[in-house]
């Protein structure tokens, strides 16, 4: 038998669906664009360490931490950052509170048509886009808009409620925007809770509220954290809604960055702000992912 053994002619590997050479070729465009986008982030981070020639829109060749010092010294900037974080949290909480019952109904409805109708209603705001949403709410919430007109006609108020040009309208609109994302994200985790568990709890005498509180919600907790993460990211990124519905009085981080470029022309500082927002966003997502893993371990198995 040993006479038949041949010396090995190099590494022996099984048949691969994609041989290495082809793999590099296939992934090349993707890798190129990833490299480009990483370089782009690098470029503005580098920019944030530069200085502006005063009075012009030229960038000098000096390196400095000036922009960063300015961010922390001018307390207004940390304030805006903090406010952005807070408001995003507000949107997340309200959004989840509204999205969960919706997701639960879609997940547990037996009728397929009803489910599809509900999902259709949820997907339209999602696909139709920011401009449409912003415009709709601007007209709805205006002083002579539909809501105020209706409220006055019904005698509930005498003068118009000022929804626009303050945080109220912005929050309403943001919540409106995030509900479909949060709801779709929650449907899967809710579905994964076997109905039989709920039935068993009812069978043992639990009220519906108890069933939710002690069985359904804990088991969907990882999903809730993931939905919260998604919603919070959307909140942090808010740009169009605060700009349009806030009328200059409501500023979230993205708006500050925009103004720094288009009003102050301070590119390095804009880079600084963007870099800080980037870091905060990544940090938040990382924290949320950890929380999600924790929730999964605590409540499952």
């Amino acid at each position: 038998m040993s006479a038949l053994k041949k010396p090995r002619r190099g590494p022996v590997s099984d048949f691969k669906t994609i041989p290495t050479r082809s793999l590099v070729l296939i992934l090349l465009p993707t890798l190129v664009i990833i490299a480009f986008f990483l370089a782009s982030y690098g470029s503005f981070i580098i920019l944030s360490f530069r200085e502006m020639v005063p009075g012009t829109s030229q960038v000098t060749g000096n390196w400095s931490f000036g922009s960063y010092r300015r961010f922390f010294r001018d307390t207004v900037y940390p304030y805006f950052m903090f406010q952005t974080l807070l408001r995003a949290a507000q949107v997340t909480v309200i959004g989840l509170l509204l999205a969960y019952p919706l997701a639960y109904c879609v997940a547990r409805t037996a009728s397929k048509t009803l489910r599809q109708l509900m999902m259709g209603a949820m997907i339209i705001p999602l696909l139709v886009g920011g401009i449409t949403i912003v415009y709709a709410w601007m007209v709805l919430l205006g002083n002579v808009g539909l809501i105020n007109t209706a409220l006055k006609a019904l005698g509930i108020v005498k003068t118009s409620i000022h929804f626009l040009y303050n945080w109220t309208g912005v929050i309403i609109c943001l919540v409106y925007f995030v509900i479909p994302y949060a709801a779709f994200s929650l449907i899967g985790p809710i579905r994964n809770v076997p109905r039989t568990l709920e039935e068993a709890a009812v069978n043992m005498g639990a009220s519906r509220l108890t069933v939710f509180r002690r069985i359904v919600f804990p088991l969907t907790l990882p999903g809730v954290v993931e939905a919260a993460s998604l919603t919070y990211s959307l909140g942090l990124s808010a740009f169009l809604f605060p700009m349009m519905l806030g009328g200059g009085r409501v500023k979230m981080m993205s708006n500050i960055i925009y103004e720094t470029i288009y009003i102050t022309f301070d590119f390095p500082f804009a880079g600084t702000l963007a870099a800080i927002l980037l870091v905060v966003s990544i940090f938040v997502v990382t924290v949320m992912t950890r929380l999600q893993r924790l929730a999964r371990r605590v409540y499952n198995e």
Binding site: M1, S2, L4, K5, K6, R8, S13, D14, F15
Partner: protein
């Protein structure tokens, strides 16, 4: 040099994945038109060996020969063997017809030839009326028949079946086993069949190779393997429930006398010859018979013979419809498992009662004390 008459040959196949050896020097030959089954538990390497023939696994060492040619370097698309998977793997977006035509299209045959050939194979598996259907519209058994038709269409040099009936429910499985076997014999295709189900192997095969942990344990006809396992592993895998440690008192050319328990010794034919004085006596539950002590003739004292009757206590009894299974405890502590038809006599058995167990030496096999892999 290729041996004439062997369609498929594995020569000293070794396969290593990192530090794990999936195959440790396996050599098997399959004759033309033969259905050879690789039988063994999961992880024994049978699927790896099958996939080596298919070309998806490249052996670390050794050679693979197909129809007189060495095919190690031939890529899987060119080997012209037909692989049938456990989960059918029909193309879900193609009709039955298109599925079967696929291999022929790869060979660039013209449309009318393809049409004819596909109709032929669909007729062979009795699914001609379904040629326009999609796999999702067919039952599991039907899908598997299409999978079979699909590979037969290309007229492969060998047929490779990887646990093809695993996903099919029990009742249908028996029918399909017979159907596939008949088809294989009719077409005379050399076939390599992989399964972990000993029943299936016994039904379908011309020859069986029992594998364990990357090695060949035993090779032979179904009856050979069934009646004369040569190791504890093969005996256990093929359902020989009784493996009693006994001592050899004396050997002759074709027989051995073994001391089983208190009482006379048993004469056992010597088929393979495990060395040493301490061996394992292996026998099937079916070859044991049981009567109540009071009904048996008095215990035979004296000489060794090829029938052994010993007293024991009935410890366990279960009715399984037409059969009963039971366990009897011998005075020295050994446990004997038996099986019998359910009769009026067995209905009278009661757990805890004294019984007499009878064993026929001709139905026993001697195995090494602890076989490889047990």
């Amino acid at each position: 040099m290729p041996d004439r008459g062997f369609d498929v040959e594995f020569k000293c196949i070794r396969k290593r994945y990192g530090s794990i050896e999936a195959l440790r020097g396996v050599s098997i030959s399959i004759r033309r038109g033969e259905l050879l089954t690789l039988l063994g538990p999961s992880g024994c390497g049978k699927t790896t060996l099958l996939r080596t023939l298919a070309g998806f696994v490249r052996p670390t060492e050794g050679e693979v020969w197909l129809a007189g040619e060495r095919v190690d370097e031939v890529p899987p698309a060119r080997r012209n063997v037909g692989l049938v998977f456990q989960n059918y793997s029909l193309f879900p977006h193609m009709t039955v017809f298109d599925n079967c035509a696929f291999g022929l299209q790869m060979r660039h045959l013209d449309r009318s030839t393809i049409q004819k050939r596909v109709e032929e194979v669909l007729n062979l598996v009795h699914l001609a009326e379904f040629s326009g259907a999609y796999p999702s519209q067919l039952s599991g058994g039907m899908q598997q028949r299409v999978a079979l038709a699909r590979v037969i269409a290309i007229q492969p040099r060998a047929l490779l079946l990887d646990e093809p009936f695993g996903a099919i429910d029990r009742r249908l499985r028996d029918e399909m086993q017979v159907e596939v076997r008949k088809l294989q014999q009719k077409l005379g295709i050399t076939t390599l069949f992989v399964t972990h189900d000993q029943q299936e192997a016994l039904i379908m095969s011309d020859r069986i190779v029992v594998m364990n942990e990357g090695r060949v344990e035993q090779e032979g006809t179904p009856l050979d393997i069934y009646d004369s396992p040569r190791s504890r592993f093969v005996a256990g895998f093929l359902g020989m429930e009784n493996l009693l440690p006994v001592t050899v008192v004396r050997r002759t050319a074709d027989q051995a006398i073994v001391h089983v328990t208190e009482g006379p010794d048993l004469v056992v034919p010597l088929r393979a010859a495990p060395q040493g004085d301490h061996v394992t006596l292996a026998f099937r539950a079916e070859s044991v018979s049981l009567v109540r002590r009071e009904e048996s003739a008095g215990a035979e004292a004296g000489e060794a013979s090829n029938v052994l009757s010993v007293p024991g206590t009935l410890e366990f009894l279960m009715n399984l419809g037409a059969r009963v299974v039971y366990e009897v405890r011998l005075p020295d502590g050994k446990l004997v498992r038996g099986e019998a038809q359910r009769t009026d006599r067995t209905r009278a058995f009661g757990v805890g009662e004294p019984m007499t167990v009878t064993l026929k030496g001709d139905y026993c096999v001697l195995l090494p004390e602890s076989g490889a892999g047990t």
